[in-house]
């Protein structure tokens, strides 16, 4: 059960209320990171409602937009408050798949949690993943997939990353992802909920 007014407001999609509360809290000196945390909790609640079928797609997307609009205000303040990012994370939807809704939500949450996210977009090839990991020296790469037919593609990309001698941790996420898929494609972590992604990142960067 949510108790924080801001968490409740974003979970209930009360756009104006969210904007008002953010302004009010910033004015009274609450740290931007704490505000982002409240927003994240509310977003996780909305995500949970979507998973149980209580919320519909429009509501999940709206929640993401409210979060994005809020981050426009909060992000510049965040980088000011904790001068450095917690670290680099490479993210992308694997080759053959063009779904980005889930990935975008995870990217938003990771950014909100203080990570520098290099978002490669959708339909990302093995080569692009490898190049980005090398360039950013990211300790974590997140791969998103929705289509079951793209499992092979994900396996191939991870094999490619390993063949290139990179030890970056690989987190895979998507609606049908489970332990079996994770083991099959050779990933280190798997997540089904967007919020799990943040927990895993925090573990790795701790």
């Amino acid at each position: 059960m949510l108790t924080d007014a801001l968490s409740i407001a974003i979970a209930e999609l009360e756009e104006q209320q969210v904007a008002d509360l953010i302004k009010e809290r910033l004015d009274s000196g609450v740290s931007p990171l704490e505000i982002v945390n409240s927003l994240q909790q509310g977003m996780a609640e909305a995500g949970g409602k979507f998973e149980t079928g209580e919320y519909f797609l429009g509501e999940l997307i709206m929640c993401g937009e409210i979060m994005q609009d809020s981050m426009v205000i909060l992000e510049p303040l965040l980088s000011g408050s904790n001068a450095e990012y917690k670290g680099n994370i490479v993210m992308g939807t694997v080759k053959g798949d063009i779904h980005d809704l889930g990935k975008n939500i995870v990217v938003m949450l990771l950014k909100g949690s203080g990570y520098n996210v290099i978002d490669l977009g959708v339909d990302v090839s093995k080569e692009k993943f490898i190049e980005a990991i090398k360039e950013s020296k990211a300790p974590l790469v997140g791969m998103s997939v929705l289509l079951t037919g793209c499992q092979e593609s994900m396996k191939e990309i991870i094999e490619g990353i390993r063949a290139a001698g990179l030890t970056t941790k690989v987190l895979i996420g998507g609606n049908y992802i489970d332990q079996v898929v994770k083991d099959y494609v050779g990933a280190d972590y798997s997540a089904q909920a967007a919020t799990d992604g943040v927990k895993i990142a925090d573990e790795i960067f701790a």
């Binding site: 999609l13 756009e15 209580e54 919320y55 519909f56 429009g58 509501e59 997307i61 709206m62 937009e65």
Partner: protein, 265 residues
């Protein structure tokens, strides 16, 4: 779309009885049920009976249970004045229903609208009656806008009611109304309100006719309607139309109504 709940009207025999009996709990229940169903304004009409005395009572007891803005539905300046004096809170929220181009209404009701800076419904009607064509109604609308502008009235508060005539009388009445909607909104850029139900006068299955007429009016960008919010089917149409017309971001209200089991197949 703005919804003006029409139930508290003395022309409905059962409601007239409640007003005459001064049955406050029943009236308050009717007010609250309309608010719960999504009314943005509550229309109050006491024309059938001792209008001024009943209006004062009605305003008072409705405001005991809700602070939803009121729509004072009367042709009598005395009743409107009494209502405005009785209203608690922000009197500039009161929607006055209505003025027209009739000399008496301009002379007596308009000064109240200006004094309290209220939103107002303006009927396209003058001392010669209701014009038959869209063009003549446009002329009356222009005249009204001119009068209001001269008095420094904020036109964002004006709702023109181009007056629906029964489809049974002329099969062009609905299309003529859509023409009025289009022209008034395009040329004068003011809002439009309608009472809808006159369209189905003397037709069978009036609710079907009203509902479909409402949907068409909304497609022509009507801003407000006076209707029965307790009629779940018409509210289903309003909510679904707003969703389809892009007036409900991400379908938030539509989905909320679904979960509250307000939508009816």
């Amino acid at each position: 779309m703005l919804i003006i709940g029409e139930k508290l009207n003395s022309s409905i025999p059962s409601v007239r009885q409640l007003i005459n009996d001064k049955d406050a709990p029943a009236i308050q229940d009717l007010a609250l049920r309309q608010v719960a169903a999504g009314a943005d304004y509550l229309d109050l009409n006491t024309a059938q009976g001792d209008e001024v005395v009943n209006m004062e009572w009605l305003v008072r007891i409705v405001q005991e249970v809700t602070d939803k803005p009121l729509c004072i539905d009367s042709t009598s300046a005395a009743a409107i004045k009494k209502a405005l004096e009785t209203v608690k809170g922000d009197k500039s929220n009161v929607l006055i229903n209505s003025i027209s181009l009739e000399k008496k209404r301009i002379d007596e009701v308009l000064p109240l609208v200006l004094e309290y800076k209220c939103p107002v419904v303006g009927l396209t009607l003058d001392d010669n009656g209701i014009p038959k064509t869209a063009e003549e109604r446009m002329v009356l609308s222009e005249r009204l806008v001119e009068i209001l502008t001269k008095n420094n009235y904020d036109l964002a508060n004006l709702y023109i009611d181009p007056l629906v005539l029964p489809q049974a009388v002329s099969h062009n009445n609905a299309t003529m109304f859509f023409q009025c909607l289009t022209d008034i909104k395009r040329i004068l850029k003011v809002k439009i309100v309608s009472g809808l139900s006159n369209i189905s006068f003397n037709s069978p299955k009036r609710k079907i006719v009203n509902r479909h007429f409402l949907t068409l009016c909304m497609a022509f960008d009507m801003d407000a309607a006076i209707l029965d919010p307790l009629d779940r089917k018409i509210m289903t149409s309003v909510i679904t139309n707003d969703f389809l017309l892009g007036k409900d971001r991400f379908g938030k209200k539509f989905l909320k109504a679904f979960r509250s089991e307000l939508l009816e197949d």
